[in-house]
């Protein structure tokens, strides 16, 4: 269904009456992004696949299209969104997928969601309907606003429609498991990083490292031979890691508070950085070391650790850490798209903070 006219009208109404609008999809990122207090502009009815050409490796769909609908259509043609977008609470829309900018376990080897964006149609804070990028990967006409919109959490305006690069699905997959502590697991991952392997995921938690190999059967079997470890049936492991339905991510289970006083921190560091001084149960590691999850009650300790590693840390539900000069330039970009601050977003950039 095409709801562009209603959406444009809603944006223009908000401009006229100087009301704030919070762009909303299915609400699946509610554990991640801080609450916003604008009037909701729900995009879900503006949905539907607009164009899909498997041979061109691109799909175009409206923002409200559920990720599952897109994934199902792609899998009918043995294709996939290689960056493995999470579907928290078994939901999520294309617009939310792009706006939150989150990628799944395959990110280091298969690219990020932002890498896969080819073009977006959006509405800016002046109520103007704009199209940037297109349906082709090789495209350097103008600034890369499509990729700037990715991960912008709706700060610059709603995405109406987007074209995303798709990849052939990898048809054969195997999971290997190794009993290793966090440090030894990371050592192994670092050794593997320098080798040409069909690796598409790593997950370490509580003394166990799982590696996912995916690709051609011949290639995967050859790699598995050389790596050793135990071949295991992963069950829903990789989906649970992607969607945060694995037990590690749960603050409480069956009503029992497991993580009293702790917050879940998402820490991005150079993959070879040392492990934090965390309890085994409080720590999980993805992206071959590049993404670490830490349940911790001491925010300053986490921040100090991330800084010492030249990385960054974000506690889910809070603002992303944007400092000083970064904030002033990002606020200036916000002002360039939404000078009247119509769009109230989890990425709390205000035009008044511009340099």
């Amino acid at each position: 269904m095409d709801r562009v006219a209603r959406i444009v009208e809603a944006v223009n109404d908000a401009r006229q009456s100087r009301r704030g609008l919070s762009i909303a999809g299915s609400g699946s990122k509610r554990n991640w992004l801080p609450q916003t207090d604008g009037e909701l502009l729900v995009m879900n009815e503006h949905a539907g696949i607009v164009a899909y050409d498997p041979a061109e490796l691109v799909i175009t769909a409206r923002a409200g299209t559920p990720i599952r609908v897109i994934a199902d259509e792609l899998s009918r043609h043995e294709q996939t969104l290689a960056f493995e977008p999470p579907q928290f609470f078994a939901s999520g829309t294309l617009g939310g997928m792009l706006s939150a900018g989150l990628s799944g376990p395959a990110r280091p080897w298969c690219g990020s969601v932002r890498d896969a964006v080819l073009g977006v149609e959006m509405i800016n804070g002046l109520g103007e309907r704009l199209t940037f990028g297109g349906q082709v990967m090789k495209n350097v006409a103008g600034y890369d606003i499509s990729r700037l919109m990715t991960g912008a959490c709706g700060a610059l305006g709603p995405i109406l429609q987007a074209s995303v690069r798709v990849q052939p699905a990898r048809d054969f997959s195997l999971t290997l498991r190794f009993a290793l502590d966090a440090g030894a697991a990371n050592e192994l991952c670092r050794q593997l990083a320098g080798r040409y392997l069909p690796l598409t995921g790593t997950w370490w938690n509580a003394g166990l490292l799982s590696l996912r190999l995916a690709g051609s059967e011949a290639g995967v079997l050859q790699a598995a031979e050389s790596l050793g470890g135990d071949r295991v049936q992963p069950g829903n492991l990789w989906q649970d890691v992607r969607d945060h339905s694995a037990p590690f991510f749960k603050a409480s289970d069956a009503g029992v508070e497991q993580r009293a006083g702790q917050k879940l921190w998402r820490i991005v560091v150079p993959a070879a950085a040392p492990m934090p001084a965390a309890q085994d149960d409080d720590l999980a590691v993805e992206w071959a070391g590049g993404l670490r999850w830490w349940w911790h009650e001491d925010a300053s300790e986490v921040a100090a650790y991330a800084a010492a590693c030249n990385g960054w840390a974000w506690s889910l539900g809070d603002q992303q850490p944007i400092d000083g000069s970064h904030r002033s330039y990002m606020a200036a970009i916000k002002a360039a798209f939404d000078p009247d601050n119509i769009f109230v977003s989890a990425m709390n950039l205000r035009p008044s903070d511009a340099h």
């Binding site: 990020s112 990729r147 340099h355």
Partner: protein, 489 residues
């Protein structure tokens, strides 16, 4: 500013005081190499060229220019093909070639940290000892700089499988015209806030000056196979590309050349190309030995099923170099056919290839100029090479006009006016066709967020609305007439 005006002398003095001894060029002979980049038809003698060696010197140049309202044109290796580094007459060319140090090859994290003047190929050369390489490989890679690659979001043969510069850059250190040092990312797979790395890639030196780049390094594939397939019809070659991708195979590279390009390349490079082919396809596959054997078999079948009448498969390195030799020599080879040529750069959806080539053929007849076509078949990026003789009255203009129409055709069929060479000066008019007034104004507001005074590489990349209005090639989107404030009669 007047030549040798007191202002100019004063500013030159300030610059000289902040640069090393050989860091300022003011004499005409010294300035001449900086008059243009790889697009030699468009030249402008610069007022002055600054050659800093450190970030502090760059910061000083930017500060002085900001304080005196002097435009700054950043320049890498000067190999760009869209005039992005063409000087401003009253401006400083900020040449970054002396910042050419590889700061670190970090094999543990599989990244390299580089100064902007490091040559693209030098990165892979330095990483090779660790079994790693830097994937984006524009054809100018022996000369082009990583800073320039960031400015243009450069691609190359292997970007089909391994991505463009934006997919391989993890960190940037940027000096803004306002005097800020901004550092984004590092050896990190994402960053907080807005994606500043993405917006810097492809920004053509208009948003900030890159002083450091952190790139991802990949493990070198253990085995490579290169195949050359010859077809009696272009359509068949295009079909073969779709067929290969439709089977779920993304080759490391896929290049197509039409008859004129093949003949030129063969006469020049003697790589053994079939001169009677309507089109050839070069396919490179990489991977581990076992999977590569089955991939090669699949691709062989696909090529034959689509009508390839000749198929060469090279597994030995020397043979592979021979097969690539012709393609890599395509541009200079075509240059021998004619005193001049004009290399175009557009991207189209792949299934439009036969249609677009047929229309180019019509243009060629209309303008009386031959066109050889080289095509990054995997991603739809087309390089028509328009042959002309600048000494013949009107031919340069005809070539430029035909080129413009080709780019507009790219937009018409759902593509874009530039796939990898950038807009620079060259494609400003075509930007008026691809984008609406509101979109162009959005680009300007984004630019102002970084460079409110408009001193960085002015007049490049994004056309002004006035220019578009004068052109008459306006773009009406969603029924909204652009430039409604301009009267029409």
């Amino acid at each position: 500013m007047e030549e040798s005006s007191p202002d100019r002398r004063f500013i030159a003095g300030l610059l000289r005081a902040n640069l090393p001894e050989d860091g300022l060029i003011t004499d005409e002979a010294g300035l001449r190499p900086y008059e243009c980049d790889g697009l030699t038809a468009i030249r402008e003698q610069p007022w002055i060229v600054a050659l800093p060696q450190t970030e502090q010197q760059i910061a000083a140049v930017l500060r002085i220019c900001r304080e005196h309202g002097v435009p700054v044109v950043p320049r890498g290796a000067g190999t760009g093909l869209s005039g992005g580094a063409r000087p401003s007459r009253d401006g400083v060319v900020l040449a970054l070639s002396k910042l050419n140090q590889i700061l670190e090859i970090d094999a543990a994290n599989c990244v390299a940290r580089l100064q902007p003047g490091v040559r693209n190929l030098a990165i892979s050369e330095a990483a090779a000892v660790h079994g790693l390489y830097y994937a984006p490989d524009p054809s100018s890679q022996i000369a082009c700089s990583i800073g320039g690659n960031v400015a243009e979001n450069s691609g190359g043969v292997h970007c089909l499988k391994y991505g463009l510069t934006v997919h391989n850059v993890l960190g940037l250190r940027v000096l803004t015209m306002e005097g800020e040092v901004l550092e984004f990312g590092g050896a990190l797979l994402d960053t907080p806030g807005l994606d500043m790395l993405a917006v810097m890639c492809g920004s053509e030196g208009m948003l900030g000056v890159v002083t450091e780049v952190t790139v991802a390094l990949l493990p070198t594939p253990p085995e490579v196979v290169v195949m050359l397939a010859a077809f009696h019809e272009i359509e068949a070659a295009g079909e073969a590309v779709a067929h290969i991708i439709g089977q779920g195979i993304i080759p490391a590279g896929m290049e197509m050349m039409d008859r004129l390009a093949v003949q030129a390349a063969e006469q020049f490079a003697h790589a053994g190309y079939p001169e009677d082919a309507a089109a050839i396809l070069l396919v490179e596959l990489d991977g581990a030995e076992t999977e590569l054997a089955s991939l090669t078999a699949q691709v062989t079948r696909a090529l034959k099923d689509c009508g390839a009448y000749r198929l060469d498969t090279a597994t030995e390195s020397s043979e592979q170099l021979r097969l690539w030799k012709g393609r890599k020599a395509a541009f200079p080879a075509v240059g021998r056919l004619s005193p001049d040529y004009y290399c175009m750069d557009g991207t189209i959806p792949r299934h439009q290839l036969a249609n677009v080539l047929a229309r180019i053929s019509e243009f060629s007849a209309e303008y009386g100029l031959r066109v050889a076509n080289v095509f990054h078949a995997g991603d739809g990026n087309l390089h028509p090479l328009i042959l002309f003789d600048a000494n013949k009255a009107g031919e340069l203009q005809a070539a430029e006009e035909m080129g413009g129409r080709i780019l507009e055709l790219c937009v018409e069929v759902g593509g874009t006016v530039t796939g990898e060479h950038g807009v620079g000066i060259e494609k400003l008019d075509q930007m008026c066709v691809q984008f609406s007034a509101a979109e162009l104004e959005q680009f300007f507001r984004l630019k102002s967020a970084w460079d409110p005074l408009g001193l960085l590489n002015p007049g490049k990349g994004i056309p002004t609305l006035t220019r578009c209005g004068e052109l008459g090639g306006m773009h009406v989107r969603h029924g909204e007439l652009p430039f409604p404030e301009l009267e029409r009669y």
